[in-house]
């Protein structure tokens, strides 16, 4: 039997170690299954809204096509958008449980629609999801601690250390044991992940990136455990010290940093933005219509040479002031977005000092479930909304009747699924 074979037997005979490894593999597998189930649920929701949405549009088309009024069509028709989960979303659900991944919009002011929330039970969201990211970031280190805290100390406490040291080239022993334990922890975490990733159709580069991330994160904890182990403390002191490190790194410092970041980077509340947009939109009723149209044409000269406003109500004025309302808060929108990104960047920077934060940030980035993913979705909604406006404006400003076939011509939301 090879030395590794002997070490293997030794490791697997130790009930604590073997049990811990099996438990870790089971927990990882459970988190993968839960993540895959959640992602499948989200995909099903995205799929099942399509026919419902089509029926909704058909019902509107039924009466609008009789009057052929493009304004009514634009006003009453909602268009669905969705943010399909990436093939890695199962591993790190990130913000997908609290931010909407489906949103329907109409050609009215977007800023009043973009920040709508989703129905979710906040009591369920509060503790966080049981996903792979959780198992890796919170639980795996505890298993590393359990397996590594007494790598040396257990031999000393059992009285075997001098005998082992008296053997030739005894230092290899620690390498072998360390590597073996690391390999087991790694595979307990990485194998279920790899299986889940293959099931989910994750691309190879992304899988490799996550496998590297897992290794790097576990190496950090192993290194910490070995460092503490070098102090020649008793195994119980090692365990306590490591558990304290875990507590500080995964719970105490991130929560303190959260308070600090939110203090350091004050954010104009999003609600200020919508309040301003609403004032801008509603003000239009109280100022001359020509003022609104002048502002609209300034930014959209392509519609300038269209028939003038009739004396009575016309939808194009209505949509123009919605557009102007959106544009009047563009600066605030940018500032709000910059603030969000600044907070996110600060947390990301902190990830270099706090590996749990870094690992979480890296995983959600790879899975496109972080703030950047959210903002990218908002950008796609914005771009789509712009296409919707342009589509309806053509009818509105040129007084083209809007018939049943025109409903079919409305731009469709092309979900650009992230390549990862």
């Amino acid at each position: 039997m090879s030395p590794i074979g002997h070490e293997l037997r030794l490791l697997l005979r130790a009930r604590l170690a073997a049990g811990a490894l099996v438990l870790l593999a089971l927990l990882t597998a459970a988190s993968i299954v839960a993540g895959l189930a959640e992602v499948r649920h989200q995909q099903q929701v995205i799929e099942r809204i399509q026919p419902q949405q089509a029926a909704d549009v058909a019902a509107i088309s039924q009466w609008v096509s009789k009057i052929e009024d493009p304004g009514s069509a634009a006003y009453y028709t909602f268009h669905p958008t969705w943010d399909s989960p990436s093939s890695l979303a199962f591993a790190a659900l990130g913000m997908r449980d609290v931010a909407p991944y489906i949103l329907r919009v109409r050609a009215l002011g977007l800023e009043a629609q973009l920040y709508d929330g989703e129905n979710f039970n906040p009591e369920l969201a509060l503790p966080g999801r049981f996903d792979f990211a959780f198992v890796l970031i919170y639980l795996a280190p505890l298993f590393v601690i359990a397996l590594f805290h007494d790598l040396h100390a257990s031999e000393r406490e059992a009285g075997r250390l001098t005998m082992l040291r008296a053997l030739p080239r005894s230092r290899r022993l620690w390498w072998r044991r360390g590597l073996l334990r690391f390999a087991f922890v790694y595979f307990a975490v990485a194998l279920p992940f790899a299986v889940g990733a293959i099931v989910s159709g994750t691309g190879l580069p992304t899988i490799l990136a996550v496998l590297t991330l897992i290794a790097a994160y576990l190496v950090f904890w192993v290194a910490l455990a070995l460092l503490v182990g070098r102090m020649s403390w008793s195994s119980v002191t090692n365990a306590a010290a490591l558990a304290a490190c875990w507590l500080v790194l995964t719970l105490v410092l991130p929560t303190l940093a959260h308070v600090a970041i939110n203090r350091a980077i004050p954010l104009g509340q999003g609600v200020e933005l919508t309040l301003a947009q609403r004032e801008a939109v509603n003000k239009a009723w109280d100022i001359p219509r020509e003022t609104t149209m002048a502002r609209f044409f300034a930014s959209h000269p392509e519609w300038r040479d269209t028939p003038p406003l009739p004396p009575e109500f016309h939808w194009k004025w209505y949509f123009a002031f919605h557009q102007v309302g959106d544009e009047s808060v563009a600066d605030r929108v940018r500032a709000y977005r910059d603030g969000l990104q600044a907070r996110d960047a600060a947390a990301r920077a902190l990830g270099w000092a706090l590996p749990p934060v870094g690992a979480q940030a890296a995983l959600t980035r790879l899975a496109n479930t972080d703030l950047a993913g959210q903002l990218a979705y908002q950008d796609r909604v914005r771009a789509y909304h712009e296409r919707l406006r342009q589509f309806y404006y053509r009818y509105l400003f040129n007084d083209i009747p809007f018939g049943a076939p025109d409903f079919e011509k409305a731009p469709k939301f092309g979900s650009i699924v992230p390549s990862k």
Binding site: H41, N119, P127, L251, H258, V271
Partner: protein, 480 residues
Amino acid sequence: MSAVRLIARDELRLMRRNRVAVIAFALLVLLTLIAAMTSWTHQQGVADLRARFQSEADRAFDAQPDRHPHRVVHYGHFIFRPLGPLAAFDPGVDAFTGNSMFLEGHRQNTANFGDVRQSSQLIRFGQLTPAFVLQILAPLLLIFLGYGALARERERGTLRQLLAQGVSGRQLFAGKAVALGLVAILIGLPAMIGFALIAGQPGALAGPMAVIALGYAAWLLLWTLVVVLVSASVARSRDALLALLAIWAVAVILLPRIAPDIAGQAHPLTTRLETDIAIQRDLRQLGDSHNADDPFFAAFKQKILDQYGVARVEDLPVNYKGLLAIEGEKLTSRLFDRYAANSFATQSRQSTVMNGFGLLSPTIALRHLSMAAAGTDLAGHRRFLDQAEAYRFDIVQRLNRLQAEAVSYADDTAKDPGADRRKRVADSHWDRIPDFAFRPASATALVGAALPGLAIVIGWLFAAIAAAWFVSGRLQRNSK
């Protein structure tokens, strides 16, 4: 009794001499004070901010110029959920629910701009509040301080020696538990100082505060007993530490995460988008307001005409469009209520499943009791949403009535250039629309909501006491 006191005193002396223990204890106390301070200032800041927004929104609403009432229905109103004083102790789901809502006619909007979408991902690592410290961190400190209480004695052989000197197993156990219990009380004290700050605020309710204090006291004592129990049951102090860490990780970290996943899978929620579509579909089934010959609206029209004894809507003494708006709002609102009730029923079922896990992990029960008593749980959020919807319905209907009574049907349907002016109602009306005033839950309601969680935590405590009685009685036999 004096044996118990001697043992407790000895254990405490040992802890005092353990530099690491003293530092850890001091750090936790410091952290609690920081948490209490930041949480309190945060709560104050948020409460002030929302109050400011609310008064700005109220002012903006009242300052509207002369307008057609239906314009005002669409101008709508913003309301903000005020934050109760106990949210400084346990903000509960506040960061996860939106706290502002746009109220308008025919639509029920979501509460938007919760902190969770406005903060970095760090918020998902937990929020530094006194509740967080007591729920998550305090048990860990008790583990660090107490894992060796009896395992150490057994490991060193002093357990046999003590028992041989005539100290009974129960006395020994009690002494260790008393020592650790005193530490637990000291750990809980700073959070209670934070509590005292809160108590000075208006609106702080004594009943819920007492329940919270009782719940956390039971929680810390439960951990005290669990720590000593495990320490009494294993051969080596290292095993005691590992076993306790495992119990902590499962009960405090793992189960509270698994429970919501299971609850969410068991009772999936309908998405908002689907709800919107369903409501529109139901509305169409009731009647097509865009179709002049729709039977439902034709019947309504006939009913109104009969009521006033006239033949044409133009002859009505009131504006028919206003009446129609009132009727329409009634219909939509009824649907909103029904769908909201369905959604909340599902969410309640989810929460029930999750709280059922409290039987396995008292952390879940404690968290529930804490949020419920602080009024920051799902029910607290629902209270806001329900009142918001009632308020929305009220102001929309007031405006619709105003349209029916103060705008003539002829003006309302006129399309000449001067019609817009004639349709408008004097701005003095907006002042008369009442402002939104959130009515917080009564102390009795909060206490009542917290009782199931409290019962579970106390049940666990009694189970631990029973286990302690049993284990300490066998300490003599298992002294080696």
